[in-house]
């Protein structure tokens, strides 16, 4: 463990990465970039898990990161299938044009 770096620095880095992901989800209109921003957010959470896990000497965090990766893989499969289905039907990946439920 790199003692020179306090736990706070990992947490701050993780919070900043998560915020960048939120900005991506809110400000972009391309559904694939929104999807990648969600991946950035998931990874920021993983970093927090691993940092706490190491600094508290408890490997439960590693197991949870493993589960988050399983969820991310499932999300990738289903999400990309949905993106392809949307593009096939509408010839577009702009989320503002997908407004079927808007009423």
């Amino acid at each position: 463990m790199d003692i020179a770096v306090p736990l706070n620095h990992y947490l701050i880095l993780s919070a900043v990465l998560f915020s960048i992901g939120v900005v991506g989800v809110v400000s972009r209109r391309n559904v694939i970039i929104i999807y990648m921003s969600i991946e950035v957010m998931l990874n920021a959470v993983n970093l927090t898990f691993v940092a706490f896990s190491t600094y508290l000497n408890d490997m439960g965090g590693h197991v949870f990161v493993f589960m988050v990766m399983a969820v991310a893989a499932a999300e990738a499969a289903v999400g990309l299938a949905i993106i392809i289905a949307i593009f096939r039907n509408r010839r577009s990946v702009d989320v503002d044009k997908v407004n079927l439920l808007k009423g």
């Binding site: 706070n8 880095l13 391309n30 990648m36 991946e39 993983n46 590693h62 289905a85 990946v93």
Partner: protein, 162 residues
Amino acid sequence: MFYLFGFGALFGALSCVLARQPIMSALFLIVNMLSLAGLYAVLNAHLIAALQIIVYAGAIIVLTLFVIMLLNMREKEGLAYGHKVVLQAAGIVVVAFVFVGIASKAGNLAIATGGAELSAGFGTVVEVGKVMFTEYILTFEIASVLLLVALIGAVVLSKARV
């Protein structure tokens, strides 16, 4: 090492979110993922670092790149500049500052309650496996069901008519 990888992760994430083309975005996401894998290795999480490269950089990003190339999008994406977006951005920045502030304090609490020396073999496949297959066996089984559901869902969604 932390600052090197941390800068790489920040640069990758920012460029990913700001890139004009989805394909550049995906490539910068790889930079982000690899930097995070380096951070995990610095944190003694060897198994997680390997998984990060294999699962994220190896599988998820490649799948994303396939989809981007398959779709061959030509349309220009416009950022919706306007009153609403400025308000949203301001809100996000405020929340982000609060969030970072909380994060910078949370570490002190954790160090006060724990901060033990690392046990032998911390983060290796053997030790993480022991924890995963004893204490968290139910979670592991649920994850396998989740992956099965996702598999079936992806097959159903990618049939010709949805």
